[in-house]
Amino acid sequence: MTRKRISLKRLVTNVPALIGLLLVLLAVGSAVFAAHLAPHDPVAAELRLRLDPPGWDPASKAKYLLGADAVGRDMLTRIIYGSRISLMIGIASTAISMVLGVTLGLLSGYFGGWIESIVMRVADVQLAFPFILLALVIMAIFGGGLTKLILILGLTGWVSYARLVRSQVLSVRELDFVQAARSLGAKDLGIIWRHILPNVISSVIVLSTLQVATNILTEAGLTFLGLGVDPSIPSWGGMLADGRNYITNAWWVATFPGFAIMLTVLGVNLLGDWLRDELDPQLRV
């Protein structure tokens, strides 16, 4: 297995990947520059403007471009700020899973033995546990909130990393340069860090893009079940879940966050597909 490099030339000629990149940049851009882009306050309620229609509608009072939500806040502002929260949920939880999963995967793949047995057994248990129910029970114990949500998503998502990395380590471990390093007396942790990790990292990156997308969606699902975050914090999932009650008479409240999620997740996935094709076409995620 050799390291692959990403070719920017191939990116430019790959239409789906370009679309993906564009969508991701859009989301990241609005997250970074939210304070400059957003026309209004994302949190303060203005009940007078409850469910005010989008600006082009003659009935619109405030002329907010995308209308107002159930407590009268500008939808556009909420969606722009929402990119921050949703990307943070997606990325932070994925980072936790990644660090945990890659570490356990490396250790169990490299050392084998009891470490491997324990890690893989715990992974099996985790995989067989219905995730939503696990999340519900955990939330019933510790309550909801953004941090806890990220932790739950992060701490339950490590299994796919651990399995992936372990299986790759098993093949890398026997390669000549690793054996050579070992015979030269290199320390195990050094070998893992210097020789093995770089060889598995590309698959990990691919898996992570997909995980980010999945976690953004899962947050929406958990909010739907009533386990989400503070409703004044603008997360797309939360906005969508809370807006579903207004879908027939104030369609903009759910539809715009729905599109925001769709476009971002689509973008991340398209980019992830391309990365996979570039870095590790054998990877099945």
């Binding site: 309620a45 009940l47 007078r48 975050v229 207004y246 008479n249």
Partner: protein, 528 residues
Amino acid sequence: MFNRGIRMLGVAAVAMSLIVSGCSGNTSTPAPASSGATPSQPGAAAYKDKLVIGSALGDPQGSWDPIDTFVVAWGMVASNIFDGLVDRGTDLKIKPGLATEWKYTDDKTLEFKLRQGVKFHNGEPFNADSVVFTFDRLLGPEGEKSPQRSNYTSIDKVVKVDDYTVDFKLKETDPVLITKLAGYGGMIVPPKYIKEVGDAAFDVKPVGTGPYKVTAYTKDSQVVLEAYPDYWGEKAKTKNVVVRFIPEDATRIAEFQTGAIDIMQTVPVAQVKSLESDTNYKVIKVGGPGATALRFDVSKAPVDKLEVRQAIAYAIDTQTIIDTILGGNAKRISSFQGDISFGNNPSQQPFAYDPAKAKDLITKAGATGAKLDLFFSSKSTASKEIGQAIASYLKAVGLEVVLNPVDPQALSSQLIPQAKAGQMHLFGWGGWTLDFDNTAFLLYTKGQMWNPSFNDPKTNELLVKERGTNDQKVREQAFQELTARLRETMPDVPLYQSMAVWGTSAKVDGFTAPPDDRMRLSSVVVGK
């Protein structure tokens, strides 16, 4: 509105409702209404033989046994399956049920004359043995698990006098008892059937004496009822009733708009206007005794200071919340009870919206910039929105609010009792007793589970006073003082009393929206 799913009849049943006191003597039996044309008979072809209802409350936790439950989801349906000795209908007045008359033969003996010729759905006759069995069961080992039992502990035992007469022997005088007997735990169950099939089977295949019998039940999906032809009272006009459990608002409204359900419980606020303007539907609003308040844990800074609590009351524009978030389907209150509740003082005014005054008070208390936690149910759209509105109102006067949406079950059974629900929480109260006693006792006396910290000697004293007597004048006087006292001491900010909003297809006739969610379906018909 907040505790929809867990609004408890238990609370209701503990009460002496004053509007019923006129009925508690000997009452003549109304002749069983023999309204001729039931749709199942020829000549009534104008009506459908099936009525479908969409319940917002969901499944009654899997059991139809009256003593297993105290959720309104049960009473909503089961009030058509079972009868008690007395009956509290949609007008909230007590009428004779399976008993035709009753009287106290002495201080601790209440005698009931039972209705004759009544049969359970399985053909088993109703008589004194059924009543004795029902209460032996409730007060015996089977009742140990019953959340209903504690409502009936004033009963020592029920004794059969003859086949159609029973005596309730009481441990202590209990002026509330008659009302309680219209509550869930007082529903009469069939002894032979239960002994035959066992308690577990009875849970899912209930048999009562009511106008409808259960023919099929799929948990979390639906329960199918069929008119009971031998019902003792007015026979049901529509032969088949299906009650579908659709707690998800978006789904329930979709079903309603496609015509798949004829009667819809709880029309979401956002849909009310569009349904009202559509002639295919009727929207019925009924003021219930349910009320909502912003409650404080007065042991926590900064709401341990009275000024801060007052400031919060002045800072919130409750009327605007009612007009917008609640679509006008609520009324302001000045104490934690509805206007039909005994003990309400109509001349007491709610706090005016006065943010400037609120700001002053907060500055005086030195609480500017203080952080407060607000807890509320994560499963209620209204409380999520009201919570956010309150946070914005308080921010405007210099208080930071952290919103904590939590599982409603955890909120009411753990967080509040353990004083872990922050400085403030939104709290809904059924108030089905229609008497302030129950509410005030449970919410304002020390040591009660939903009152972690408020303790005011004067309040306790007034409660002892109103409890100690049956003289309604004295009680009323005590309640007037109590509501004034609570306004001074402010353990909570009473916000509003809510209305239940029902939707029916325009073809539905004879449906009375129940203020307590206990539907009565006998007279309902659906046009073709």
